[in-house]
Structures are given as C-alpha cells and as structure tokens.
C-alpha cells in the first residue's frame, strides 16, 4: 500500500460528496449504445449452445456427441470430460469458501444431473440454429432417479440422495449414514431456556419462504477468444471480472496470467452474477474451435439453470417481558442449497437477531441439498429469509403485550458494544437511529381505513470490505481518469468520480471514472456484499491522495522549495506559509501541463484490503389494503429508513433502497418457483414468475439516516443489500393488522390470503 499518511484531506467541507451530479454512464445506456454481454461481435465469431438436462435427477449412463460433431457448421462440442478434475476442498478468497469439485459439476454435469436445466454438453457452430440442431443430435442416456424439491422432504430419512457419500458436517459424532444435509451450524450465547423461563410472553411459530430469483433483466452472456498460444480473452457480464477470471482459470486449469477478462455493461446482478456458468464453457469451446465463441442464456435457461436464493423452512421462538424487554430468541433455519452445498444459512443465523440486544440467543442452521439449481447470492444472502420469521414473531410479541412495534424495537435496539451471536460485539451504531427516524415520520401517524393495516420490520446485513484497486491518471489538460476494477451496477462510476473530485478539490466534470479490465487495473473483488463504495472508494481516495503528494512535489520543484513547504487546497498547490515564499498557486491544469518537465506522467495506483466496514441497518413500515374478495394485497405506502453512513450520491442510494423494497415486495407477494410432480419448473419466464411492475407500487419513501462510518474517508457504509431484509415481514405484519390473519408462508399470494381469510 502507498504511504499516504502525511497527506491530509484536501477539503474541510464537502463540495461534491452528497450531491447528485448526472451519471457518467447515462448517455450510452439511454441511447442504446452501451455494450452488454450479448452485444459484442468479433470477426469470425461462432455461437455456443448448452444442452441441458430434461430430468430433475438422473444418472448419466453415456453421452454420444458423434452425430452432433458431424453436422455441417459445427466447430466444437464439449462435455465435462473437456474440463480437468477438481479436488474436493473448500477454498477461496474473501469471506466465501468455494468447493471446485462442486463448481465444475455445476458448470457441466459428470456422474449425474441434479436438476432440470443442469448443463450436460455444449456445442459451438456457425449459427445459433445449427448449434441448437446439434444439441438435439447429442444422445444422452439417462437412468432417471427419484427427486426431491422441498427442503423438509429433502431432510427426511427416506429422501432420495443427491450425493450417496454426503456425511453431514458440524455434527459430533459424525453420522454414519449419508443424507442431503450438508452441514449443521449451531450458534448460541447465554441460556435460552432460562431466558424463556423469565419471559412473560413467549411466541413461537413455523415459517416457509420460497426460492426466488434475482430476476436481473439481462440474461448471462459472454464471448471468449482462445488463441493458439494459450492466451484467452473473455468479455462477460458479471459482478466481478476478476472473479470470472479466477473461476474460469481454476475450472479450465490455466494460469491466471493467460486470461484477460473485460467487463461488459451489466443489466442487473443482485448477487446472481458473482458466480460463473458460461465463461469456462465459452472459453473451452473457443479453444477447441479456434474461433471466438459467444454463449448466452435464454430467459428460460436463466430460471432453470442459474441460482435463485434459497427457499427455507424455519421455526422461531421469542420471549419478552411485559415491558417489552426481549429475554430470549431461538430458531431453527433450514435452507435449500440447491443441487450443491452452500446456502447462505450461516448468514441467516448470524443476522437473525443482530439488530437487537438479547441476552440469550440460539440459531441452528441446516444447509440442505435438493434437486433445484444451486443457490446463488441474492442481496444480503440469507438475512431477509431469517428476518421474515424473526420480525414476524416480534410483531406477534408486540401485539400480545400491547406495545407499538417500533417502540418494542427501540427498547431492544443494539448499540456499540452489544454482543452478537457471531461472537464480536457491535462496533458501529446506526440501528436505533433508523427506528427513531420512522417514529418521527409523519406518515407513521396517518390513520388507516377498512381492510388496511400497517406493518413494521427491521433488518441487518454485515456489509463487505476486502480487496480493491484503483489507478489514477492526470491528463495533460488537467482532466483526471480514475480506473477501478468494480463493475458498475449501482452507480459506482459516479461515486468514484465524486470521491476523486472531492479529494482532489476539482470539478466533478474533470473526472472520468471507468471500469478497467483485469490487465489494466489491480485485483478487485466482486461488486457485491455492499462493498464497492467502501472498499473501492477507499482505494480511489488513497490513489488520489498519492497523486496530491506528487503534485505538491512537482510544485515544490517549480518553485525551488522543499516539498513540505507545499500544501494542496481547492485543487491548487499553494505555499504552506509566508515563510515558504510568495508564489501564485498552481492549478491542477498548470501542473499537468508541466508534467513532462517535472518528471513525467502523473499516474498513481492504490490497492487495499479494506476492513472496518460498518454493517447496514434498516427499519421500514408499509401500509397495505387487502381485498377481502380476491385476496389481492395492494401496497399503499412504503417508508424505509436506512443508515447509509454518508450518502456519496444520494440519488443512487435512494435507488438502491427503492430496488430492495421492490424486490422484497415481489418476494413477499408473488414470486416463487413452481415445480410439477416430475420436479420440472413450470414457470420459467416473467409471465408466470411474477415480479412487481410499476403499476403494483406506490411512491417509495427512502429516508437516509446518516451515521458516518469513521473507517471510510467520507463515512460511507454499504447500502445495497439491507434494504431487502425487512419488506417480507413488514408486509406480513401489515396484512395481519389489516385482516387479523397472519400468513406464515411466502409468497402471500391471493390464493393464500383468501385461504387465510376463510379459515
């Protein structure tokens, strides 16, 4: 890391942080010129197509590709045999450990297919239609096996096994028989039995949530060009091109240095584009064909073969005193991992009670495989699922003791130093401020009409830090280029430019922020975990501060004084005091023009492994109206308070909150995977998988609570995920307030609401 300790912040008050300048990526997007994953076309490019399993669970007895290979126009055919074996081991960067024995089998099936849509083989041909025809010529002999979809059924003793040798981890002594339970996690503090004994009211219930897809608008797509010398270039739409490089290199068994990955614009990810499906397939087909290959998923393939988040089955029990003090919380959280281990159940366990100061807590988590696509990250993975159960039970407790639900949360709010079930004590504030923001919100006092109700819920998310890089160049005319390795999903180009402009003391319009490829900027972890503004932003500020140090040295050279005699203020080098000399301040433009004479181009880089990220806290309330004849739930009002640290670009922060709410509304009311009796997905498209649309929504009120994070140069906290934690419970609580009926299973679709009303 560069030494920037002797460079103080250039500004005493903010000129750009907290403003809403125009987004730098706006024009190409609204004019349709932005290049997404499927837009790139290279000379000689051919088209890849993946053959997918028609069965939910089957042994692969044989694969015969000979007829496909003979079809005119076919340039390459691949199966799992074209990829090297992987060791069975959990390894990986950051806070996510990955087992490549599983990952390679998800890229392409080997011994078995484990879900409908599981990739079995792939073809590259001179046209999409020839590739499709060739896929149909591949003969796969299957032995169809019994399947299991539901998490509770997958845990049953007689359930069909996905892996005949899977022994549950986390249980002592280890079980002697295999099962679909990959892992059991137990977290506990205090004595829950004692806590319940000391409670005046104890409420417990079971809950279920459906698996829901991230539902990004842009399907997965990439282009790969594998050269004869072993060098490979990939263009792909993902949340992390360095992650795609690392995963592809490992899956193909090639060195990182032989792969160069360029990020395409990304049409949504929400966690689902942190994993790879197509890049190793496209690169392998390109290697075999000797031509560039484009592979893209259809919407149906996205639903059948790319990760949703887990569905879950849960039991939660909470005990409170009559004065509202929460004495104990207990829960069992059973999460679908999909076809391979690795659900976000640990997150669910650790986030479940995190907003609260509860002396006695326990969470037991089960990671369970079943015949569905492998679960992938989705906004605060795991936390919204647990929050649905916990925040529903808290509402039931508040009702039983006759306490306002915000008052209950306020009374038990965590503070700095509050112990958490993870082990460490909370190091950051911000939760109670979100509750107080809603208590003061005028809409919280608005009286509601018949069939209308109001619901409250809170949420917690860790937020991420970790490795990021930035490179800064000062051009000869004083304009500035800031390059990072973070794909821009939520407006990061604008926020990086703002932080550069703020630190450098120049106009925002002088700064151009870009997302550079893996050969042009240092390693940067994914755009996920609400980490970019915090971690990449820290790298950007460090690179800018190093540039300021160099600029001061260049000014000192021009003036013939010691560098210590120069300070940087408002975009100018100035003498530190009258004793230094009477020099006219030098602007960035003037210094840039003298770059050659003073030592050459001014370019700096910074790499960080950023720690000390503050968690995200959110509290929301919504008002709903329930139609007693149809069971339709109309959202009348949604108010979301969130601790954002400091909003670098408030419009983007509000956009994140709006997006989280809308996805939460879909999760609450309408989104679910519908499987038929054969374990096949019946609704793999947006007509039948119902996401909310604009006409379903009221205006959304995002309340930005700013409790700055002292470990970030401008106080930023991650904002993109915690906003999706409260909506499901807030809506369930509002439906209960409107109808007197509580729903425990998501989605709370009209048939389920009607059933509850008629019970």
């Amino acid at each position: 890391m560069n030494d920037v300790s002797n460079v103080s912040d250039s500004v005493k008050r903010f000129k750009w942080v907290g403003t809403r300048p125009i987004r730098p990526d706006g024009v190409p997007k609204v004019t349709g010129r932005a290049q997404y994953g499927a837009d790139l076309k290279l000379p000689g490019m051919i088209y890849g197509k993946v053959l997918r399993s028609p069965h939910a669970h089957a042994k692969i007895l044989s694969i015969d590709t000979s007829a496909a290979e003979k079809l005119p126009g076919v340039k390459a055919v691949m199966t799992a045999a074209d990829l090297p074996q992987q060791k069975f081991d959990y390894i990986g960067p950051e806070r996510v450990a990955v087992n490549f024995w599983h990952v390679t089998r998800n890229i392409m099936a080997r011994e078995k297919v484990l879900y409908e849509g599981h990739a079995v083989a792939a073809v590259a041909a001179t046209s999409n239609s020839i590739a499709e025809e060739a896929c149909a010529l591949i003969k796969v002999e299957y032995e169809v096996l019994p399947h299991v979809i539901d998490v509770d059924e997958a845990m049953a003793e007689d359930a069909p096994l996905l892996f005949e040798d899977m022994i549950t981890r986390g249980v002592e002594p280890a079980p002697t028989k295999p099962s679909n339970i990959s892992k059991v996690l137990t977290f506990a503090m205090g004595d829950v039995a004692k806590g319940f004994a000391e409670s005046d009211v104890v409420v417990e219930h079971e809950f279920k949530t459906a698996a829901v897809h991230q539902a990004y608008i842009e399907p997965h797509a990439c282009v790969a060009k594998f050269e004869a010398d072993g060098q490979c270039e990939i263009w792909s739409s993902s949340q992390g091109h360095f992650q795609m490089r690392a995963l592809t290199a490992q899956i193909m068994g090639v060195p990182l240095g032989d792969l160069r990955v360029t990020p395409a614009e990304i049409g949504g990810g929400f966690g689902g584009k942190t994993v790879t499906y197509l890049e190793p397939v496209a690169a392998t087909l390109s290697k075999k064909a000797g031509l560039p290959v484009r592979v893209m998923m259809s919407r149906e393939e996205v639903f059948r073969a790319s990760g949703p988040t887990s569905g879950a089955s849960m039991w939660v029990k909470i005990g409170v005193k009559n004065d509202g003090t929460i004495m104990a919380a207990d829960g069992i959280y059973k999460f679908q991992a999909g076809a391979f281990p690795g659900s976000p159940v640990m997150n669910g366990c650790l986030c479940a009670y995190a907003p609260y100061d509860i002396p006695n807590q326990r969470a037991i988590g089960y990671d369970v495989v079943s015949n569905r696509p492998k679960a992938a990250a989705y906004r605060a993975p795991g936390s919204p699922i647990a929050a649905f159960a916990v925040e529903s039970v808290l509402d039931m407790c508040a009702k039983k003791i006759g306490m306002d639900p915000l008052a209950l949360r306020h009374k038990n709010a965590c503070r700095i130093g509050t112990p958490t079930l993870s082990g460490p004590k909370h190091a950051h504030a911000g939760y109670i401020e979100t509750v107080e923001a809603l208590m003061k919100h005028p809409a919280y006092q608005v009286k509601l009409g018949p069939n209308q109700g109001r619901g409250v819920a809170s949420g917690y998310w860790f937020n991420g830090g970790g490795e990021s890089s930035a490179t800064l160049q000062i051009n000869a005319d004083g304009t500035v280029l800031i390059a990072t390795g973070s794909p821009d999903i939520g407006g990061s180009r604008a926020s990086m430019a703002i932080m550069t402009a703020e630190t450098l003391g120049v106009d925002y319009s002088q700064v151009r922020a870009i997302v550079a490829d893996t050969a042009s900027v240092g390693y940067t972890h994914v755009t996920g975990g609400s980490r970019v503004t915090f971690a990449t932003g820290t790298a950007v500020v460090n690179a800018t501060k190093t540039a300021i140090k160099i600029l001061c040295e260049r000014a000192a050279l021009i003036w013939g004084v010691d560098p210590e005699g120069v300070v940087w203020e408002d975009g100018h080098a100035k003498p530190a005091g009258s004793n230094v000399g009477d020099f006219k301040p030098l602007s960035l433009k003037e210094l840039a023009a003298k770059a050659a004479a003073t030592g050459g181009p001014i370019t700096t880089s910074a790499g960080v492994n950023a720690g000390g990220q503050a968690p995200g806290f959110a509290t929301q309330f919504c008002d709903v109206e329930v139609d007693p004849e149809t069971g339709h739930v109309k959202i009348l009002r949604f108010v979301a308070a969130q601790d954002v640290g400091r909003a670098i670009h408030p419009s983007y922060v509000e956009g994140q909150i709006h997006g989280g709410i809308v996805q939460g509304i879909g999760w609450a009311l309408s989104e679910e995977y519908i499987y038929n009796s054969k374990g096949l997905l019946d609704n793999p498209g947006f007509l039948d998988y119902r996401c909310p649309v604009a006409s379903d929504l009221p205006m959304l009120d995002a309340v930005l609570v700013e409790v700055p994070n002292p470990t970030h140069p401008y106080g930023a906290k991650g904002v993109g995920e915690v906003c999706i934690c409260p909506p499901m419970a807030a809506i369930a609580n509002a439906i209960e307030a409107a109808t007197g009926k509580r729903l425990y299973d998501l989605p709370m679709s009209p048939p389920k609401v009607l059933e509850a009303l008629s019970a």
Binding site: V96, G170, G423
Partner: protein
C-alpha cells in the same frame, strides 16, 4: 503491553484447539496473533488464514497479517461463508 484476547467459535475450537475457545497473546499485529497461535497449535495458522474472517474489537476484516492489534483488543475469528 496488555495482551490481546483471541476467541474462536465453539466449532472451530473443537476442530483445532482441543475445544479451548479463548487465549491471551501479546501482539502488535495480526501476524503476531497468527504466529502465536500457530506456535501453540502447529498448522493452525494455515487454517486461520484459509477458513476464517476476523473481527478486531468488533470491526470486521479479511483475515490477514497486516492489521494492527490495539493493546487489550478482542480478536474474534469467525468461519468463512461457504459459497458453493
């Protein structure tokens, strides 16, 4: 210098430290913490670097060698999330 309090989850301790969850080590940096633990339990340093995330006085970090450890700090290792 007041030693740091090093804490493991119960599961991690059961696997690697004979079930002992808390230790006191003298450390200025995380390198000192990891080396001290590896000296006590040879091979543990590898597991700490590969399998855990870190909280120093409640502040989360990727487990590394470079982070400073304040006097008397609580250094808590929690498991990494499994992603697949």
């Amino acid at each position: 210098m007041k030693p740091a309090r090093v804490v493991f989850t119960a599961g991690f301790a059961a696997r690697y430290t004979n079930g002992v969850r808390e230790f006191e080590v003298t450390a200025k940096t995380m390198r000192d913490v990891i080396k001290a633990m590896d000296d006590m339990f040879p091979g543990l340093g590898f597991h700490l670097e590969e399998e855990t995330t870190l909280a120093i006085n409640g502040e989360y970090h990727e487990t590394g060698l470079f982070q400073p450890v304040p006097p008397g700090a609580e250094v808590f290792f929690i498991p990494r999330i499994e992603g697949g």
